[in-house]
Chain length 216, copies 2
């Protein structure tokens, strides 16, 4: 198809598509003449994915390019890149003393072992979680860490349904697409649902404490 | 205390503290002479909070300033700001046709009503969730939406423990601090745990499909 048709199908303006191509986010079309290129379903699909990652996932063009490059040439670090991308964390580490970090590492290790999760000791997501736990301890917000077991149990159920849904797909390409979209947009959906549940739960608590239990 | 002591206690360098004060993230100290200011526990606590939001939560200085300004003068929009901050979404909306968005809105409404969550119809987090669902539909990834019920159930359990832990605190100030830190860092912890659970679940699936069930 021509670029105009591609634009119509994806609802992405032609100049934006050209920008994506220049930035290496979408592969070039096949040249049919000096000034004409033709595009196919793969281009359409890729544009939709780019649109989702940038517009909804809030990723930068650079991060999206790295992510897509890894997708096109998957290796062991793809998983890690996804993790880092989604977590949106500053790589600089909160300054915590060695003792606090060691104790945070022990707590995270016990949590992971307790659930029987098989995760490489050097997995960067493990480091991220340890940093977060250490940061909460350094902040003196240790009591918040009581949520960890409940969070881990919820994460396990979430991962099971994520895997079940994606693995039902027929070909590897759509499984990989589903994993990326599911990790980025699914993560945002999870946080949105958590916010809504917070709003509901604090509403109930407030109504109860003010004596208005009419609707409970 | 003097700024040097504040720096020692928080492990944040003096120039960084001065930068936070200039940027309006931390209140000025009380002037005791022309060139000397004195700081108290509130400054120490605020610096730790700023550090957590910026270094671990990955928020920008501008977002952090907005968030802290709202914290200092809480009103109805505080909740919404927190939601938007955490979701880290580009406010521009994926272009989806009216029909897709209406159908996404109906699905989200049914989900929220089904769980008995009381959320204002105009709550911006609801709009964010509708946008995400609409984006998945527009991407043709409708099957991924099968996760929604499980996610909502998990979110409800998570919100309950979040509220239980934070409301156990003694004063309003520490409850508000806990809610902010818990929302931002807790959100990152949840996503990290989800990643770890994904790694474990896909490891099991891969080992099983390749016939190595030795460790299962």
């Amino acid at each position: 198809m021509r670029i105009a048709e591609l634009s119509r199908r994806t609802a992405v303006p032609v100049p934006t598509i050209k920008y994506y191509v220049r930035e290496g986010l979408v592969p070039r079309g096949e040249l049919t003449s000096r000034n004409q290129a033709t595009y196919d379903d793969r281009h359409e699909r890729r544009i939709r994915l780019v649109r989702a990652l940038i517009d909804i996932g809030g990723l930068s063009v650079a991060t999206t390019r790295d992510l897509l490059a890894q997708l096109d040439n998957p290796d062991a670090s793809t998983d890690n890149l996804l993790g880092r991308t989604m977590l949106n964390l500053n790589p600089s580490r909160e300054r915590v003393d060695d003792e606090t970090r060691a104790s945070a590492a022990a707590q995270v290790r016990a949590l992971v072992d307790g659930r029987g999760w098989r995760v490489d000791t050097h997995d960067p997501t493990l480091d991220v979680l340890i940093d977060l736990v250490a940061a909460l301890r350094a902040l003196g917000e240790d009591d918040l860490l009581e949520i960890l077991d409940t969070y881990a149990e919820a994460a396990e159920k979430i991962a099971a349904i994520d895997l079940a849904v994606v693995s039902r797909r027929e070909n590897l390409e759509s499984i990989i697409d589903g994993a990326v979209v599911g990790t980025v947009l699914g993560g945002s959906m999870l946080l949105a649902l958590r916010r809504l549940a917070h709003i509901d739960a604090s509403g109930r608590m407030f109504r109860r404490s003010s004596g208005d239990v009419s609707g409970l």
